[in-house]
């Protein structure tokens, strides 16, 4: 598989990549069209506002209840899965998770892996890790297959190839697979399927993610629409599921509302075409299913978020992608601009715990705090509030002890001084009025170029007289004060 790194990753930061993305008309159109359609699908899937809001509240409370007992539930999950014959592995880092996965494959002398869609495996960069060790990893989700074929990373957590339109996919298939160029979507899917079908039969190991891990019964629940998840988890002799520790819920009853929230928020579906519930390897009297099932539970910074009462809410996430679908920033710059596994609003609040704020110093600022994400989040994560908190952690000095991994990435003595001055100005009425007087009196001297603002605007010119002035005069005349 080619190791081409997308061009946008070669540039240094969010703003540079954003500039490249914003100049790409095709990309802008692809995202706008796709996001508009997804927003409409979600809206149509929740026709009753009262029901929707009630369900979101329920989802929030279910996740909060699960998180309040997270260590206990994880132990219960491990015990139940072990009873069911599933081997459970713990990984604090992605490196450890990869070693575990590779170890399992090695024990079977495996060389071919087929994967269902898994964002945790993207976190681990599992494909690259295994490829370096001579194991071929093939993505079987159509979108993932497309981005893998093009040497890219997913640009959306639900629809990995959403940045491409069908013409671009047609060209890609033509270039990489040598097939005739066709932009008939059904034909394109059939081309992908024919390639994948053979791989399902040949693979030594199937890898998948997990949507919900149910502690009470030791069940791994996986939703998908293509059947590739079921194939990946049942056809090969070994199934390895990888997931983050926050995916555990107490019982099957809890899953019902969460599943409804997930599929309706993500794609506007009442339910996905496939809902897989995996509770163990093939039993002696069964005809099919894998001989071994493993679960790798990955921390990768999640316990850091868990340790902070406010940030813990980040772990409510059920990975529906609605926040990015509704985000005016994501819609314009696309997923690759974020430069990390998780793009969009959820990416901005979860990535700092995984890689540290020094790696993603601009992520918290890349938001107008418009609140669209928080408004649609099915489990009511207060995303704007958490972004605001990350901004606070990001400007702290080392002495102030930032509470998020590698916080203080944007600490600047100069900017702090500017805000101190702003504080003085706005807490000293005399000084503030002097400022108003000066700014209005010398309005003609307002500079034409005021930094980044004048890239998009003309410079704002103060009025001739301030409201303080006008109001005083008006109210004196009208008998107010």
């Amino acid at each position: 598989m080619s190791q081409r790194i997308p061009v946008t990753e070669l540039t240094s930061g969010f703003r540079d990549r954003a500039e490249v993305a914003l100049a790409d008309g095709q990309l802008r159109t692809n995202f706008r069209t796709a996001m508009d359609s997804l927003m409409k699908k979600r809206a149509d899937a929740f026709p009753d506002e009262e029901e929707r809001e009630g369900l979101r509240e329920l989802g929030n409370r279910i996740k909060a209840r699960a998180l309040s007992r997270l260590p206990d539930l994880l132990e219960q999950l491990e015990a139940k899965l072990t009873d069911n014959g599933v081997r459970v592995h713990w990984a604090e880092t992605t490196e450890q998770a990869n070693e575990i996965v590779h170890g399992i494959i090695q024990a079977r002398q495996g060389s071919q892996v087929v994967k269902g869609k898994s964002m945790v495996s993207e976190e681990m960069e599992m494909n690259d890790y295994l490829a370096e060790r001579g194991v071929e990893c093939l993505e079987s989700d159509m979108g993932e297959y497309i981005v893998q074929l093009d040497g890219e990373k997913p640009s959306h957590i639900i629809m990995p190839a959403i940045h491409k339109n069908r013409h671009q996919v047609a060209r890609l298939f033509h270039d990489k697979l040598g097939v005739e160029e066709t932009d008939d979507v059904n034909e394109l899917i059939q081309i992908g399927r024919r390639t994948l079908r053979r791989k399902f039969m040949e693979a030594d190991v199937g890898v998948s993610g997990v949507n919900f891990a149910i502690a009470e019964t030791g069940t791994l629940l996986l939703v998908e629409n293509e059947g590739n998840g079921r194939m990946s988890t049942t056809a090969p002799p070994v199934h390895i599921a990888v997931t983050g520790i926050e995916k555990v819920v107490e019982n099957l009853r809890d899953v019902v509302p969460l599943l409804s929230l997930l599929t309706r928020s993500a794609l506007g579906q009442p339910i996905t075409t496939y809902v897989n519930m995996i509770s163990g390897p093939r039993k002696a009297d069964e005809l099919d299913g894998p001989e071994e099932v493993h679960l790798v539970l990955l921390d990768n910074g999640r316990s850091g978020a868990f340790a902070d009462a406010q940030m813990r809410q980040t772990l409510n996430c059920i990975r529906c992608g609605a926040c990015m679908n509704h985000c005016p920033v994501y819609t314009r710059v696309g997923g690759h601009t974020y430069g990390e596994v998780y793009p969009g609003p959820i990416g901005k609040i979860i990535t700092p715990h995984m890689v540290g704020l020094h790696e993603v110093p601009d992520h918290p600022s890349a938001s107008s705090l418009c609140g669209a994400c928080g408004e649609v989040c099915p489990v009511k994560i207060p995303i704007p509030e958490l972004l605001q908190r990350l901004r606070q952690e990001n400007v702290k000095s080392p002495a102030e002890g930032p509470k998020v991994k590698d916080g203080g990435a944007k600490y600047s003595r100069k900017e702090r001084l500017i805000w101190r001055f702003w504080q003085t100005l706005n807490t000293s009425p005399g000084l503030y009025r002097l400022f108003l007087w000066g700014a209005t009196r010398f309005r003609k001297l307002t500079p034409k170029n005021v930094g980044p603002w004048t890239e998009n605007h003309t410079a704002p010119v103060p009025a001739k007289r301030s409201l303080h002035d006008l109001a005083r005069e008006h109210l004196a005349r009208n008998g107010g004060q």
Binding site: S68, L70, R332, S365, C370, A463
Partner: protein
């Protein structure tokens, strides 16, 4: 496994706050305070004055405390909580008189109602005053609509306008609904929808200067959808959005403009046309 949670507080799990019910509005008071906001103070003072006139027209005596400055939002959204808190404290002192506080900006009103309690979360005594301010704070359009229950005669010529609502106003104050209803009372005003109406204009306070590329793309899209709406002009009740949208239109050398809703409303009901 448990070592992963070495410093976790097991009982620190938060649940989303209860959904607030519909706001209960008081009877029309005799006196109010106008909190002008810093952007209106410096850039759109006429809008502030028009807000005062609209309130006076309803028989309300308006006070404008001289000590007011900024609600603290720019520092708060930039992560400078300590600086924002001191500015907020100064406003709390100025607005402490127990009268309703009317704000011609949804986002500043939202700051008072939603975010001051986050700023002062560690100060129980201050929180009581914060709660009082939150209770007394009204965005101008909701105040005119639900407290004053205005009934207007539209003295203006027929016109078509697009309404832009700031995101914090929309999501924290429901201002878009209040403004729509107010505009609906004006017989000669036709409100037209614009494409992606509920989408952010890209201002976001310091976002507009920290991320000028993305912010610029957002405001360009917003101005284009406003111009394509067929409206004669845009009105908004937020100074920040107004500065953003008009600044962009001016840079694009477009004739189309927005103006503050207070000025538009005053012109319609007073019959005082202004250039």
């Amino acid at each position: 496994m448990n070592e992963l949670f070495y410093d976790a507080a097991p009982n620190a799990t938060r649940v989303a706050p209860e959904r607030p019910g519909p706001r209960q509005y008081p009877a029309k008071p005799r006196e109010v305070i106008l909190f002008g906001t810093c952007v209106v103070d410096l850039f759109f003072p006429e809008a502030g004055l028009d807000a005062i006139r609209l309130l006076e027209r309803e028989g309300i005596r308006v006070h404008f405390p001289e000590g007011q400055s900024c609600c603290g939002q720019p520092a708060w959204t930039s992560g400078y909580a300590a600086e924002a808190r001191e500015v907020a404290r100064a406003q709390l002192a100025v607005l402490d008189a127990g009268m309703p506080v009317v704000v011609p900006s949804g986002s500043c009103a939202g700051m008072f109602r939603q975010h001051y309690r986050e700023l002062f979360a560690e100060e129980p005594d201050t929180l009581k005053r914060v709660a009082s301010l939150a209770e007394r704070t009204f965005e101008l359009t909701e105040f005119l609509l639900n407290v004053c229950q205005v009934e207007w005669k539209d003295l203006g010529e027929p016109t078509r306008i697009a309404l832009h609502t700031s995101c914090s106003a929309r999501r924290e104050m429901n201002t878009h609904l209040h403004a729509r209803e107010l505009l609906g009372k004006l017989a000669n005003v036709e409100r037209v929808d614009h494409d992606h109406e509920s989408e952010c204009c890209g201002f976001g306070g310091t976002f507009s200067v920290r991320m000028p590329e993305v912010s610029g793309a957002m405001v360009t899209d917003k101005t284009q959808s406003l111009m394509a709406s067929g409206a004669d002009e845009m009105v908004t009740a937020d100074g920040g959005c107004l500065m953003n949208i008009n600044g962009s239109l001016d840079k694009q050398q477009q004739a189309f403009r927005g103006r503050h809703l207070a000025s538009f409303l005053w012109e319609r009901v007073s019959g005082e046309g202004r250039a």
